[in-house]
Amino acid sequence: MITWSSLFDTSWPKIAQILIVLALFFGFYGIAFAAGARVRGKAQNKLALVLFLGPAIVLALTGLGIPAIQTFIESFKNADSSQWIGFANYTHAIKDPDTRLAFVNTMLWIVITPVIATSIGLALATMLNKMKREALAKSLIFMPMAISFVGGSLIWNLMYQYQEPNRPQTGLIGQIFMWLHLTPQHVLLWSPWNNFFLMAVYIWGTTGFGMVILSAAIKNIPKEIEEAAQLDGASGFRLFRTITVPMVKTTIIVVLTTAMVGTLKLFDVIHTMTGGNFKTDVLSNRMFDEIFVYLNNGRGSALAVLIFLGVLPITYYNIRSIRAERNH
């Protein structure tokens, strides 16, 4: 007998499971649309609404809404969620020195990385604008976006690799130190500077994103304005400061806030490169450690809630800026 659970039995090949789910999905929608096409008049509108919105709402609720509520509830419970313990997880998050360090580092990340990534992105977008082979240069800068952060982190880990001075250097950074007749450093252990070496990886990976969006915005600046400014004698940096930046201001804000939300959720770089050791821990890695290493569901959930609360105002501002842009 075929039961629901047997369809998802792990002894089936994965590809068969995927095909079954896809067949179910398209089968259901085929029938639903066929039926929907026969309905005429006012009912058609309502049916379309249900057909299109229904699954999205169900998926958003089961995949996002319910887990979010559950996380919120579990943040007030103990390690295995069997007892209510009030705000103990939150007070622990504030008092625990390791978690506090993660807070401080996360703040550093939010303030520094988006600003640098966006600034470099803006500078590149302006400089590359109307340059020869612009597309080629842009694709090269955009390339790291195509690599996952785990892959990127592994590459950078090799570049940062430390070897004692009397041994052949295997990391690029160590070799540069040698060429400059300096003693190679454990860059990943060099607190607090190691945070910046980790940020470099993230900036390397996200600058391309900002550049592409800003470049599109710059290309949208009406030529007349630029020409008028040039006729008035503005050029170079002045043109950039008085025309380009104000004209793409909303885009800059969107890029900045998106990068901020990204850094608040930053996990892969830290997890892959230092595992949160050497005073480089951030909130999301701490959350992972609490849940999966220390098996403390309550503390992990509390951190998840705190991260969510941190993302909320930024996301709100982000959405408002995008709306303002649209109405513009």
Binding site: E164, H186, S191, F278
Partner: protein
Amino acid sequence: MLKKKGLGVAAAVAAIALVATVFTTSSASAAGCDAYSKWKGTGTVKVFAGIRDPEATIMEGVFQQFTLCTGIKIAYEATDQFETLLPVRVKGGNAPDIAIIPQPGLVTTMVNTGKAVPVTAAVLKNIDTYYNPAWKTFTTVKGKVYGAPFGASSKSLVWYSPAQFKKLGVTAPKTWADMEAIAAKFKAAGATPWCAGIESGAATGWPATDWIEEMVLRELGPDQYNKWWKGELKFSSPEILGVLNKVAAWLGTSAQVGDLKSVATRRFQDAGVPGLKDGTCGMLQQASFYASMFPAGTKFGPGKDADAFYLPATNTKFGSPIEGGGEFPVAFSKRKEVGFVQDYLSSPVYGTPRAALGGWTSANSGIPLSSYKDPVLKVVAASLQAKKGAIVFDASDLMPTAVNGAFWKEMTKFYAEGKSMKDVAAAIDANW
């Protein structure tokens, strides 16, 4: 889990070839099935573990004979995220039939979910017949036994290069003082006496916790050791703090292990390779599974490419205690086939052919020592098989997960950040 992927690469190559011969001979003769006659069944038993290739391939090769004789299929699935995934699966109602769990602490966690099933009478009989009574205690929760021992390893070993020892004119030491003398000779010859590396991804720091455990066992004895992992003896107690400082003097100074920060970032796999062979560092305290880290073709044994000796006792009060590690197949289903597989895995019927393929040891005394071809593994197996004498389990793996995690992280801080052992102890204690 990272600690138990015990297998020599060289052995693996040979083993795969051997597996092939096992198939051909066994399928030809039904006589090979005598030992399996008490198990008959149908269907598939799903086994989930963190044991991956090359060990997994060899294991599945041995399972073939079981399936051939009993009709029970074993579907084996391995992942490097075992400790993370098992609780998720069990909680989600998707538990495997059998999970091979390397940490007694995790066994307890799984039992507390109410989904794990105690072992069958046949498995219990295996444990009583073949194993040192200590093994039973590792998976006993509220008076019931949940795990049948499977593979086992000894952590109380020191790896060395016989060629380098010969150069210094020394042989494998029998006492702690002799070992210290050899360390001093390495130092005098310009080498770092001890090889050390504790980087291990998310579990960075665990090799250092092993050093502490060895020293607690040697200095304070098995009784205090057991009190310690149960939390009755705090890290900041004068006894344990004294041991922490002893380890700091043994493997925590740059005179003994070289640059301390490098210890924190060096992968544990690379700690003794190629350092031992080229003589840049002298000795490496690491478990028996470290054999698999040596390059393919390495020959083990006295006078060969690499060898290991028992980490000597520091005093005569407690004999020669051993710190062991091991895996425990725990059942999540009451089907009779699942019980059969558990029975099979804890019996010599699995152990003897598996031991013959190399790169694996067990504490099962039903496996003839002659099955172990590798001299190092033979020494390890003999010490693990001893029915008397103190065998303790990896203490950090027995501690609650939060304490274990803090233990790793704080030991890493000792090496990477120069945190004092006193502060390390206090920080770990805060997690009880």
